[in-house]
């Protein structure tokens, strides 16, 4: 990859982190957090995005980030109170900023009108809207011009003398004095003198050390904060003195330079050509990209002190995390999976060999087992990420949907730190988005209806995550009116989904909304009625090996509960015997298990049988027969039935010979060395070292319905 491209990729990754930081900070501010550190964090996030964007000439992004930063700075300096309205504008601005970042990364387009509108709104927050607008034409070629700011300050000095002496660390961190000096020249007419007195003879020269210093006489209206901001990223790695000239504070501290006066162009040429005093690994910096873009507007006296927070906030990140290629992690996970299987096999062999439980071999094996488990957990934890990354997208969604529906909504999130496999997280965003839209659009009542019910006008949607018995449980709850069961039932009858006289429990009625072709909104709304219903949500959750449930209390609200596996590499399975074969049924699909009595099993002719469960009939599928392991079905009254719920909520009972138990199994591909086998989802390896097949329940049910045959399914 082009080195610049890979830097750019890193920049976009960091942008995502900054955006997350930004949103977190703004949300805290909305809650009333006025801690200067929070406000600084928000400012820094915008500033860093702007800085990075400058390096890649992403102009639309810089332009917006700049206006945003200016407004932020007003808040930071305390001139603009972080009132609710202001924070709300900023939150929306953060959304636009996120759009711009994504557009810059993926080459998409953004809502120009929205961006322009937000730009205007932000400008009204800025120090002087008119000045900002006047400067607009300059942004085209990206020369930041210092804005004139009227501040109640002592008479401004006519210029500044900046003495800048880099330390070796500055170069070691790949900073470049020439670039800083070039930045300074953008603030106004500058005269730069090189102080090379400390430069030793070539024979004594330590190429890693810093020997040069510069004195820059800057005339014009730039203020001290702007000058200091140029050196913001090298703070602590250089000696910096900024003294006003012509103002009252001018000191006689004029250094007795015997250096020559350089034209800046010549200086730059020399510094770049003369590699000797530079660290050997000075990076190539694209000429179009100022490393630290010059600040443009509204610097305030408050910013004149180098931002301490910046340095301290950045330090803990370094070295705390590393970015690792996902493939390497997956390879490691594969290997550990094999280790676990191997260890289980070894244990079984040792038990078979008749070693006593207390023997040294058995005890050593126990320890090995413990270690293996720990390794497995640790390796899985590498892939695990907090659900925060997907939860973070939701506040924006809530704002948008709230604006569209005209319902004031507050989103409360809990358990953002709950960790789950990266793949699961990635595939969680769509169903969550849909459920939250649904909760606001259908779940929450209109404000006047809420007032009638004696509830606060602002609806609350609660999004929470928690670990529960080896799975992650995510809940989306609203405090709306709950499910209108009468209406749900009548719609289901109307659509022919259920019989008019079907005896259904409240729970069963609630779950009707997951049926394909069901949509409760009488008119299709723009927000949730996009032709996809809750059945799609349910299917995508099931595809992840998860289950979803709804519970609803009239007048109090509804809660959707999703339970998902922590990883897709292992699966919770019910190990069963069928015609001498050991098979694994995914537990997520199993609703309950039962021992069918002969009297409950009825034949519909041929091999088609149904079983009566609490008054209803569901098809009874003999798994051995369906997979061709035997020619005759088990006689009625024998075996165990697994009541399962397949795709689209259809129920069926799978008849197996016996249940061995519940086990977590490592999923292995059949296709790698063979091919797909209809009725089989994948394979796994059991403790005895033998391969067991994992049932593809949906296909088996589809075959039993006669919609397809196993052979046709291949």
């Amino acid at each position: 990859m082009d080195p610049l491209e890979s830097i750019k990729e890193t920049f976009f990754q960091e942008c995502e982190e900054q955006l997350a930081e930004l949103e977190t900070g703004l949300l805290a501010m909305e809650e009333g957090d006025t801690d200067p550190e929070t406000i600084n964090a928000v400012f820094r996030a915008v500033h860093s995005i702007k800085g990075g964007a400058g390096a890649f000439s992403l102009e639309a992004l810089i332009r917006f980030a700049h206006v945003f930063e200016t407004a932020m700075d007003e808040t930071r300096s305390g001139r603009l109170a972080a009132s609710n309205e202001v924070v709300k504008i900023m939150l929306r601005a953060a959304d636009v900023l996120a759009d711009l970042v994504r557009a810059a990364r993926d080459g998409g387009s953004v809502d120009e009108a929205l961006t322009a509108a937000l730009t205007e709104e932000l400008k009204t927050l800025g120090p002087d809207g008119a000045d900002e607008a006047g400067g607009e034409e300059d942004w085209g070629d990206f020369e930041f011009k210092p804005a004139t700011v009227e501040l109640d300050l002592p008479p401004a000095p006519t210029g500044w003398r900046v003495r800048f002496k880099p330390r070796a660390d500055l170069y070691a961190k790949a900073n470049e004095a020439a670039i800083l000096l070039r930045e300074l020249t953008r603030l106004g007419p500058a005269e730069i003198e090189l102080d090379a007195r400390e430069l030793p003879a070539l024979s004594d020269l330590d190429p890693e050390a810093a020997h040069l210093a510069w004195t820059v006489t800057l005339s014009g209206e730039a203020d001290e904060a702007a000058i200091r901001e140029v050196f913001e990223f090298v703070d602590g790695d250089c000696e910096l003195e900024v003294t006003p000239i012509g103002g009252a504070a001018e000191t006689a501290e004029t250094t007795e330079d015997n250096g020559e006066t350089f034209d800046i162009g010549a200086l730059l040429a020399q510094v770049q050509a003369d590699a000797a005093p530079q660290p050997a690994a000075a990076p190539e910096i694209p000429t179009t990209s100022p490393a630290a873009p010059a600040p443009a507007a509204a610097p305030s006296p408050d910013t004149s002190s180098p931002p301490d927070g910046q340095a301290s906030a950045r330090k803990p990140e370094a070295g705390a995390t590393i970015r690792v290629d996902l493939e390497r992690v997956d390879r490691l996970i594969d290997l550990v999976g094999e280790l676990v299987i191997n260890q289980a096999m070894l244990s079984q062999r040792v038990m078979e060999a008749g070693f006593a439980r207390a023997s040294g071999v058995a005890m050593g094996l126990d320890e090995l087992e413990q270690l293996t488990r720990e390794i497995q957990d640790s390796v899985m934890a590498i892939r695990a990420q907090p659900v925060k990354s997907v939860f973070q997208r939701m506040p924006r969604l809530v704002r948008e949907v709230a604006a569209m529906t005209g319902k004031p909504v507050r989103l409360v999130t809990e358990g953002e730190g709950t960790e789950v496999d990266k793949t699961v997280i990635e595939r969680l965003a769509d169903p969550l988005t849909h459920m939250i839209r649904n909760a606001i659009d259908h779940g929450l009542e209109n404000p006047d209806r809420r007032a009638e019910a004696g509830k606060a006008a602002e609806g609350v949607v609660r999004l929470s995550a928690a670990h529960r018995s080896g799975r992650i449980v995510i809940e989306v709850a609203d405090d709306g009116g709950g499910i209108n069961r009468e209406r749900v039932k009548s719609i289901a009858v109307e659509r022919g989904l259920i019989a008019a006289d079907a005896p259904l429990s409240d729970e069963e009625i609630d779950n009707l909304i997951f049926m394909p072709g069901f949509s409760t909104a009488s008119e299709v709304s723009d927000i949730s009625g996009r032709g996809v219903g809750m059945d799609v949500v349910k299917r995508s959750i099931q595809a992840l090996g998860g289950r979803i449930n709804i519970s609803s209390r009239p007048g109090k609200g509804s809660t959707f509960t999703m339970s998902l596996p922590l990883t897709l590499a292992v699966l919770d399975g019910m190990v069963v015997d069928v015609a001498g074969q050991t098979l694994v049924a995914p537990i997520t699909a199993i609703v309950e298990t039962l021992l069918p009595k002969a009297s409950e099993v009825n034949s519909l002719g041929g091999n088609a049988r149904v079983i009566s469960i609490r008054g209803g009939y569901v098809p009874l599928i003999d798994v051995g027969l369906a997979l061709g392991y035997r020619a005759e079905p088990l006689p009625p009254g024998q075996g165990v039935a697994l009541l399962i719920e397949g795709e689209g909520g259809a129920r069926a009972a799978l008849l197996v010979d016996a249940i061995q138990g519940q086990r977590q199994v490592v999923i292995k591909s059949l296709e790698a060395n063979y091919r797909q086998v209809p009725g089989v989802a994948a394979a796994t390896i059991l403790g005895d070292g033998r391969v067991a097949l994992i049932l593809d329940i949906d296909t088996i049910v589809a075959v039993s319905r006669g919609t397809e045959t196993l052979r046709a399914a291949s």
Partner: protein, 154 residues
């Protein structure tokens, strides 16, 4: 024991094995390992010559009963049966045979072309014949050992 027939041409090594009374061989380059028989897990809806799958150090390995695949009587599996693990393209497949007998180093000119016979199976799998010490050894090509989707009904 290695028998060398160094006449002329490209030298190649073959692994010969026995199914019933017949001898066959495959190119040694395709063979990854040879292992003893372990019970396979049957696969539903599979052709009769696919015995099932076994666990090969964490990978799921399909086992093909070579006798049945070549149109002979299915092998009776016993503890003395052998699985020859072969690389076929991207996939790894186990071949069930009765016993591995020999490693042969031969030149190409020792391998005789398959005489014209009517059998489709022969045309599909037989790559040539070797006459060594009065025994006939049939050289097998592995490319089409696994069932193809359109052949499944056969």
């Amino acid at each position: 024991m290695t028998e060398t027939h160094a006449n002329a041409g490209h030298l190649r090594e073959l692994i010969s094995f026995r199914i019933g009374a017949q001898e066959f061989c495959v190119d040694i380059m395709a063979v990854r390992e040879i292992r003893g028989w372990t019970a396979a897990t049957a696969l539903p809806q599979s052709p009769s010559f696919v015995c099932g799958v076994i666990n090969l150090r964490g990978a799921v390995l399909p086992i093909v009963d070579l006798a049945a695949r070549l149109g002979f009587e299915s092998s009776e599996t016993s503890e003395r049966s052998v699985i020859i693990v072969c690389q076929i393209g991207e996939q790894v497949v186990g071949l069930l045979v009765d016993a591995v007998s020999d490693i042969l180093s031969v030149t190409d000119d020792v391998i005789q072309a398959t005489p014209d016979v009517g059998s489709d199976t022969a045309k599909t799998f037989v790559r040539g014949l070797l006459a060594i010490e009065g025994r006939m050894i049939t050289m097998i090509g592995l490319e089409r050992i696994l069932p193809e989707l359109d052949l499944e009904a056969a």
